[in-house]
């Protein structure tokens, strides 16, 4: 027996309301619409970049021009007019800020509305935040505090000026410019993002967080994040995203690169809540993101956790290149699609180092007439003696007009490698729903509870600060106290 119409509407209620659809009225400065070398020069000049950075961008652009848009995903992507997009939009009265007091109060109010207090005095949770509004970083908190332990946490545009050696060494080393269509595009036009450097032996004393907000109409967001964890260091990084409700589609093409050296660990968590578009699929963000981590050092570890609820189309495969001996890669994902949303998401675990291990836990929830695909590659290279992978992909269907698809790719070139793949597809059963109702829980609460139970293995991987937001997002209350 499938879930009832009420169940479906309960899930739609829970996931369908978009609270972050407001627009901030703020004067902005934009680059001319469209994409050409002049626009790239404009962006580079705005960011006061050195010549080598501009050259890097131009090279990427010329490469991108020759590339075809990828069409292998199970997505129906309408043609995108890359010349109908603004590639740079920045709130006026900037750019250099000495302290938060100089930030436009309208911007601070925006972040407050989003539940991201930037005012350091008010911050209780001890999370350092970098806030990126359209094309620029507007504020980064707790920087002095972090500097004491040698941690660098700053906008990437600033890092390009202040730490050119680190940028030259690492940027593009995990996701090469030519990696794919969207990474090449990003490399040409990226505007801001976060840079994190954790020196040898340092355990980053607080959670680092970046909050991305697309505000301007017809504007793409192309952020770039680079995190470097030196030997024996540790960092936990969180990212959140929202955008106003608009009828047109907007493009978000980010690149995230992580580098973990010997015994280092990076935990990267995402709560993605870009505007998903309306029921009929009007508007919404195209979320085409390349995220990859390199476990370069022995016993290094990179862990991706993502909760994907937003975006009209999601094309995203956070991956790990497990080069170090006994290195570890993890991918925990909850992807919820509703209405007319489409998601093609998963991971790649590339085992190169001896004894490297990876775990993939993916939970897909489809409602409405959405399509939700898990796509994952596990590849064991010749030298990866005793590599291990465990993959579990579970899909939950709500209603009978949605689709869930699982597309695993497994390539093993070493006979000692061990790769396991488990997959299930289920519905919320009438029995389960009735059991909850009979105990006095409303239909909406019952569905929330059941969906949340389904995602539990992933949700418990999220840092506390984000878990609450994520649970709310999925319309779920673990303790009956949220929402």
């Amino acid at each position: 027996m499938v879930a009832t119409a009420e169940t479906i509407s309960a899930v739609e209620e829970a996931t369908g309301k978009y609270k972050y659809g407001f627009v901030t009225e703020i004067e902005t400065e934009k680059a001319p619409k469209g994409l050409n070398e002049d626009v790239i020069r404009f962006i580079s000049a705005k960011k006061e970049e050195p010549e080598w950075m501009l050259e890097w961008r131009l090279k990427a652009y010329r490469y991108w021009l020759k590339m075809p848009s990828p069409d292998w995903a199970k997505l129906n992507i309408p043609p995108i007019d890359y010349n109908d997009i603004y590639y740079y939009a920045a709130p006026k009265n900037k750019p250099k800020l000495e302290s938060l007091d100089e930030v436009d109060p309208e911007l601070l109010r925006t972040y407050e509305k989003l539940g991201i207090p930037l005012n350091e005095q008010k911050m209780l949770s001890g999370v350092a935040v970098d806030a990126v509004f359209d094309s620029v970083s507007v504020a980064t908190t707790f920087r002095d505090e972090l500097a004491k332990s040698g941690v660098i946490f700053c906008p990437i545009s600033e890092a390009i000026r202040e730490y050119p050696e680190l940028i030259k060494k690492y940027m593009g080393s995990v996701v090469p410019v030519s990696d794919n269509y969207f990474s090449a595009l990003n490399s040409a036009v990226f505007t801001d993002g976060s840079f994190v450097f954790i020196p040898k032996g340092v355990r980053c004393p607080m959670e680092l967080s970046t909050y991305f907000r697309i505000n301007e109409q017809n504007t793409g967001q192309f952020e770039r994040t680079l995190i470097i964890a030196e030997d024996q260091s540790y960092v936990s990084y969180l990212e959140g995203c929202t955008a106003p409700q608009r009828d047109e589609n907007q493009l978000h093409a980010a690149v995230v690169e992580l580098v973990a050296m010997h015994d280092a660990e990076i935990k990267y968590s995402t709560v993605q809540n870009w505007y998903p578009g309306d029921e009929e699929g009007r508007g919404g963000i195209y979320n085409f993101v390349t995220k990859r981590g390199a476990c370069r050092g022995d016993r290094s570890k990179i862990s991706w956790t993502q909760v994907e609820t937003g975006s009209a189309i999601t094309w995203k495969y956070p991956s790990c290149v497990l080069r170090g001996k006994d290195s570890v890669g993890e991918f925990y994902s909850v992807a919820v699609t509703n209405g007319a949303q489409q998601a093609d998401t998963g991971t790649k675990m590339i085992h190169i180092g001896e004894g490297s291990r990876s775990t993939i836990i993916s939970k897909g929830i489809s409602a409405g007439k959405s399509q939700n695909t898990y796509r994952g590659l596990v590849e064991v290279h010749k030298g990866a003696e005793n590599a291990r992978n465990f993959t579990q992909c579970d899909s939950l269907l709500v209603g009978d007009k949605c689709g869930a698809h699982t597309v695993p790719y497994i390539i093993s070139r070493n006979p000692s490698g061990k790769v396991e793949h488990e997959a299930t597809t289920s519905r919320i059963s009438e029995d389960q729903l009735f059991y909850c109702l009979q105990r006095g829980l409303s239909e909406e609460d019952s569905v929330s509870l059941l969906v949340n139970g389904f995602c539990k293995e992933v949700m418990k991987e999220l840092p506390m600060e984000f878990a609450v937001e994520a649970q709310k997002l999925i319309g779920i209350s673990l303790e009956g106290s949220v929402g």
Binding site: S429, E430, F434, C436, L437, E443, K456, G480
Partner: protein, 250 residues
């Protein structure tokens, strides 16, 4: 005072009428047993009372504490004080038992306009009840009914009943799948919840449960009707002669 009044209740699944006019009144403090052979409509009755989707009431009425529940959804009936102990409690993977129990208790309290119970007080409350029913801390930490044995599931049902304090409890074949020891523990749990403010309807196929939970009245359900009513001795009669004779009398 009548806590549950079932008046000439007719109910169907699809086009098939299963209950052909049932009359039954349960007053506060009373324990009634409904016995009947397979296919007599016992489980249907429990689902119709609790408002499960897919069961259509085609005639008659059900009054809980004087109010008709026919227009109420299953969750509203539950919050109004109707509890069903399931024959086959379903597993809820990943749903933490404590969270589930607390959400249920708070939903009931909220509806009654009472203050919700906080986590700490709730844990104390659960521990006290759980101990008497032999529900271990370890069981409480697990997901609802996941990996529970048959006996554990039934004890967990009674624990929920103890926490929710219903005015009317319906126990659907609570004895099925229980060994003698488990039956004893569950029965003791149920007996502890008997009281002047509560009514109980015990649905069972076999007499053996009724020697542990001794009913005030026994009704025989056959072919979707109550064919005979009596006191506890009626259960013994069934035990000796089977259902055939009684059902045929009707």
């Amino acid at each position: 005072m009548a806590l549950l009044e079932i008046k000439d209740l007719r109910a169907s699944i699809g086009d098939t009428e299963i209950l052909h006019g049932i009359n039954l009144t349960i007053n506060s403090g009373e324990v009634h047993a409904i016995m009947g052979p397979n296919g007599s409509g016992k489980s249907t009755l429990s689902y119709v009372l609790s408002g499960r989707d897919g069961y259509e009431v085609t005639g008659g009425d059900i009054l809980l504490d004087g109010e008709s529940v026919l227009e109420m959804e299953a969750d509203e009936r539950a919050r109004a004080g109707l509890f069903l102990a399931f024959q086959y409690p379903v597993e809820l993977p990943g749903v933490s038992g404590m969270s589930f129990l607390r959400a249920a208790v708070n939903a009931r309290l909220r509806d009654a306009g009472e203050e919700e119970v906080d986590q700490l007080a709730f844990v104390k409350m659960v521990r006290a009840e759980a101990k008497a029913l032999g529900v271990s801390d370890e069981m409480l930490k697990r997901a609802v009914n996941v990996g529970f044995s048959g006996g554990e599931k039934k004890r967990y049902e009674i624990l929920q009943m103890a926490l929710l304090k219903p005015i009317m409890a319906v126990l659907d074949e609570t004895d099925s799948g229980l060994d003698v020891d488990a039956l004893k523990i569950v029965s003791e749990g149920v007996n502890a919840l008997r009281g002047p403010e509560r009514g109980m309807l015990v649905i069972t196929h076999y007499q053996r449960l009724l020697s542990h939970i001794v009913p005030d009245f026994v009704h025989i359900l056959a072919g979707g009707k109550i064919v005979k009513s009596g006191d506890k001795s009626l259960a013994l009669e069934v035990e000796e002669n089977g259902y055939a004779d009684i059902a045929n009398v009707a």
